[in-house]
Symmetry: C2
Subunit: 581 residues, 2 copies
């Protein structure tokens, strides 16, 4: 069953979805690329006329560093932001991808960089050239760009946020009760990645209720505790606040909280429902607390600081996932590069109390155990999961997952016949599915240990999923290089895990013939009786959502609609707001 390390051959869309997780940490050494020989100093050896030319005429240049025109530099900066920054970081310090600072790129040299960008690597670097995503000219440009110092993007403080903040429908102009007749708890918010939209889909009729313009490549949707407000955050750091009580639901406020972002969450503690929203930015490295019903930015906190282990200053510690604690009036803010988990208490914003938990570097996404007390978060490039007790605000454990690059999404909580409540993650880098014991009271001997590993279809998995009313454990593999695996999912019987998995050919069931038909992110309906999968094709191709009956594992419905452009993440209102997974 073992199919080896995932070889990502995906283009822009895939990398965008991954949002910084897919590209590999391993030193790239593709066998079909002859490593460019460099002198010990790693001097760039110019081979292009344009460089020779500009080198002698432009003041401010350094020997061995190619000069870009202003227009070239701007173009390269844009490409870098769109396709490279997610994994390598804005300042190129590296995270899921390797560092690309000029001390390193100059050693690698122009030819090596060009070839590597063109062909990619089996360890996760996409083949931007042979995939056709970048032209030869663009690749030449990027190789030259990488030999120059990275530009530091501008700061984005309160003044900049306030300039982007719009309340489209003031609070007092909004309805006092639900005006539509939707079953809001069974509504799905679906990211339409490349069109910069979300589709709201009725869980019963499977019809699109509304398509709303949002930020680009919405990373997640989150629900206010009451279930009334839906928050989306684009990769461009734009937040939409959508009032689900309106008929039809619509955006009532928006704000941009930075230049690049991934996370948004709302206050869920009793007494604080719907009061605050929080968003985390990749650039600038900071988080922002906002009014929950207007998105008015209230407090910005920088995350720049020291790595938790070597205690050296890092200029770009990006905010990865954020969740809201159920045990305290706190947000759990995961800082990627430095490995800190911040418990941000929102009781008193002017006198903000934060408990800074030393965890592990490269924190990414995670979820709660079934009780909601423990938060488990992947430190992906360290192959670990950190566990935080949100009641005591302490690190409980750091667990080696026994796989390569854990990517749990929010994970899946199953009741294991032997080990009791366990939390599950799959991996980006291999086929391992790891089960971690989460019951220190009832099953102390298994708590915070990998109690069992399963073999899935292969690497390239992004999400596992189950539901309290289900005995199925679903595992996607959208980034697996084999089309058959990428377009299908594996499903295990929780009560008979040793039997292995059944393959469900979701792509085939969709009825779509074209494209890779990557199947991504199972999401349950409210009752846990059906699970929805996105069949995700490129922007110009047809995509779909396939609904599977959970009990029978048979096809129930296919949502095909020309508005369904590049659907990826889906967020059921009830399950999302109650952290059911």
């Amino acid at each position: 069953m073992r199919r080896g390390i995932v070889q990502v051959v995906a283009g822009l869309a895939v990398v965008g979805l991954l949002s910084g997780t897919a590209l590999a940490q391993t030193q790239p050494k593709p066998e079909d690329i002859k490593k460019h020989e460099t002198s010990p100093g790693g001097q760039y050896e110019p081979s292009l006329d344009v460089l020779q030319q500009e080198k002698t005429t432009t003041p401010g240049t350094k020997p061995g560093v190619p000069t870009l025109t202003k227009a070239e530099f701007e173009a390269a900066k844009q490409i870098y932001f769109q396709r490279c920054a997610g994994c390598h970081g804005v300042l190129r310090k590296g995270a899921t991808g390797k560092p690309l600072t000029t001390d390193i790129t100059k050693k690698l040299g122009y030819d090596y960089l060009k070839a590597f960008i063109t062909y990619g690597s089996p360890a996760g670097m996409p083949n931007w050239g042979t995939s056709g995503d970048l032209t030869e000219e663009q690749i030449d440009l990027m190789a030259r760009y990488l030999l120059n110092e990275p530009p530091q993007p501008p700061e984005f403080g309160m003044k900049e946020m306030q300039a982007t903040w719009k309340v489209l429908v003031p609070v007092d102009k909004r309805p006092k009760k639900q005006m539509n007749d939707l079953d809001l708890d069974n509504l799905f918010s679906v990211t339409l990645r490349d069109s910069g939209e979300v589709a709201l889909i009725d869980g019963h009729s499977k019809k699109i209720v509304q398509v709303l313009k949002t930020g680009y490549a919405v990373h997640i949707s989150r629900l206010s505790a009451s279930g009334r407000y839906l928050y989306t955050i684009g990769r461009d750091a734009k937040i939409n606040l959508i009032d689900l009580w309106m008929d039809p639901p619509q955006t009532v406020a928006e704000v941009k909280i930075g230049i690049e972002a991934r996370s948004v969450e709302t206050s869920k503690m009793k007494g604080w429902e719907d009061k605050y929203a929080i968003a985390g930015a990749y650039w600038p490295p900071q988080y922002v607390i906002m009014e929950g019903d207007t998105l008015k930015p209230l407090k910005i906190v920088s995350t720049r600081g020291m790595t938790y282990d070597t205690q050296e200053y890092h200029p770009e510690p990006r905010v990865a996932s954020i969740v809201a604690s159920h045990y305290r009036p706190e947000f759990v803010v995961n800082v990627k590069e430095t490995g800190h988990i911040l418990m941000v208490n929102y009781e008193d914003i002017k006198n903000l109390t934060v408990t800074d938990i030393e965890a592990e570097r490269f924190l990414h996404d995670g979820g709660f155990d079934s009780t909601g007390r423990y938060f488990l978060v992947a430190a992906n490039a360290r192959n670990r999961v950190a566990v935080v007790d949100t009641k005591e605000d302490k690190l409980v454990a750091l667990i080696d997952t026994q796989g390569i690059k854990p990517h749990p999404g929010r994970g899946a909580n199953i009741k294991h016949p032997k080990y009791g409540p366990v939390w599950v993650t799959s991996h980006l880098g291999d086929e391992t599915i790891s089960l971690i014991g989460t019951d220190p009271e009832g099953h102390p001997e298994y708590a915070w240990k990998v109690v069992e590993t399963l073999e899935g279809q292969g690497g390239g998995s992004l999400f596992v999923k189950t539901h309290p009313n289900s005995t199925n454990l679903w595992v996607d593999t959208p980034l697996n290089p084999e089309a058959e695996i990428a377009s299908s999912v594996a499903v295990f019987d929780v009560n008979n895990l040793e039997a292995g998995y059944e393959v469900i050919p979701i792509g085939e069931w969709s009825g779509i013939g074209e494209g890779v038909r990557r199947v991504v992110q199972g999401e349950y309906n409210k009752d846990g009786t059906e699970i929805w999968f996105s069949v995700w094709n490129a922007k110009e191709q047809e995509s779909a959502i396939v609904v599977v009956d959970d009990k029978t594992r048979k096809l129930k419905y296919v949502i095909r609609d020309k508005r369904l452009i590049t659907p990826t993440g889906k967020f059921n209102v009830y399950n999302t707001r109650n952290d059911i997974y």
Copy 2:
């Protein structure tokens, strides 16, 4: 009695003592300097041959910016660090002094900068040229240097700290009891500024017990809660841990926690005595928690972040004063440029909890009220005092002091006949002495208000002082431009404040004839029966300490010793460790 704004004519030594407080915020416009006319763009008009020459031959130059050779740049960097950074900041963003970023310096232009450095300003900029502290060549160099982008000094993380950390006498080799027969509680630790030493002086015999090599220009001495360990921190960020139980007392450990620093403190909460030390750095902007008895660095926390008010990112929020709370296991860390007061809880260093109180920008030094519950800290360039309730970890008040640039040191707590317990600060910028009510229980109508102002001798005051056993309030004026005022102190009768002050001619009493004889920082002995003043002359001149009988206000003793080089701050062991002032 009003003698106007202080005109600082002091040289290096004065600026060093001030440690970032003396230079004025006011836009400098000395009348005897013709403002250099610049075009709207503020282009530099080169008038020196060397600039013209280098401009055309050196790559990497920008039009209008003079080039410095590597050696010149290094020399200028050193001068800037020694004489300018304290007030203007390493990155030249400004604090007590004006910003000197290149957008501003280029508008001012070379000639203006040169003249201004030479002649100073009445608002606080020293006259580096006419005082003879800088040569004409050095001033030319500095004017050119300021037109270039400031270099960012290196980071100083755990690796760098560990490389400087030395335990000279391991804990198990230290005595188990006091080995000398000193009355440690009445020992004084005296900064010998320019020699990079402290002198330990016996409070009874007035003899120097020991002179110990320390960092440069020790800013403060602090005592561990037990009174056994003395910590000093130099402006060069070097900390000495001195074991007072040894015979003679000696340095048992040292560490450097950055490149520039001002503050050190130790854990004082019941159960945590002597356990931790903390130090705050100006550069890099960070604080460090260390083992109390070895100085082993444990945890470094960056203070880079957002200004509390405009919420924009600041790259250099320096750590000013730090005190230890008596109500919680917390350090109170005052962050200057961004105006945050950090309540750093040291119960669990690995899961560090910090309450970040929005206060006021340009926090500097301060002290507790008489109960030890409230901490009052000057936001000097904002003419305010911020009050924090260390029991509740909240900001209680922001008070306009009605003077210019409050500089309390730790302040003075007197029992006012009408207003009850009040805390006193004098001012750098004028002769105002402000009394602030501190008794919300007994005198709620006066709490956190300036209840009375007194007129002192003039501006240029650094420290006020009293003692619970005294009814005198002493006010120094070492930075006053008038020699008579700088070399004397004013003393008020707390029970008859309206009677005004008596002038005590400390400088004259010292018997020293040469020098300005600046009289600085009164410090009481343990019992509060005598007060010691430093008579501070330049390095090559004689200095002294004058001891005054508190009851009679008469001369009691003059300490003259050739080892007493540039004495400034004095720290009585008992009063310092118990926050008595």
